[in-house]
Symmetry: C2
Subunit: 125 residues, 2 copies
DNA sequence: TATCACGCATCATCTAATGTTACATGACAC
DNA sequence: GTGTCATGTAACATTAGATGATGCGTGATA
């Protein structure tokens, strides 16, 4: 599929698609071809790649909305909060990453197909 | 303390302090007095109130940076991801809330005092 | 050689959070 | 009572990060 097609599918624009896919390409999960007939193609074993791999390929951004503020290391109140919660944040993030690792792209594809089957059945009623 | 004093302490401004403290006041954790000599005062038992209570008083905002996108319920890919990860997000958030509930304000105050002691010792060397 | 599609730098827009201003209200001191 | 101080709140301004858009270069195909 081309970036333009993908962009239409997810209601965004081609450049944003390229920006995001760039990480996946560097990780080897997709490949891209320039020129006439070019576009994006899956380049990995869906059974082997998990959402954790995708997460890492996209730069492993923080999964938590709040976190430790390290900008004012001299603030004693902040330090007290940090000491009390650093472990909790780390544990929660680790838990999430672990769950991401439990979902392969193949499993997602199967989920998709199952939903699509239900969808078609409902439509044909 | 007045909102202006608190604002100076945390490098923000009085109105933002009032906005935030409003939630804590409604929950009964602090009280405020208008007029001359007014300001904010703690109005709860530090042993009994936890960071979870504070979190709830502030409106229980999402603790996760990413989450389930419910805006396009007809997107089958999105649905597949949601089915696969909803539990993980819920578990991670529950874990965090549990840890917040394990930290009383009294414990935070004690952490603060301990750090302050170390701070003074280092200063006097 | 014309067309198509990605790669990428640059700039524009949008949005949520934060900061600011203004004014009303209540409390205390004199 | 009147001046001062502080909160309560609405309305507006600013900021920062994400997202979107444009332009141009490069490679591939017909």
């Amino acid at each position: 599929m081309t970036s333009a097609e993908l962009a239409k599918c997810m209601d965004t624009n081609p450049v944003v698609v390229r920006r995001t896919m760039a990480g996946l390409r560097e990780a080897g999960f997709v490949s891209s071809e320039k020129g006439h007939g070019g576009g994006w193609e899956i380049a990995c074993d869906l059974q082997k790649v998990t959402l954790r791999d995708i997460y890492d390929a996209l730069g492993s951004p923080s999964l938590l909305a709040i976190g430790i503020n390290l900008e004012n290391p001299e603030c004693l109140v902040e330090k007290a909060v940090n000491r009390s919660l650093t472990g909790a944040f780390a544990d929660a993030e680790a838990l999430l990453v672990k769950r991401l690792a439990g979902v392969t792209l193949a499993a997602l594809a199967e989920e998709f197909r199952a939903t699509a089957r239900r969808h078609r059945t409902r439509m044909s009623r």
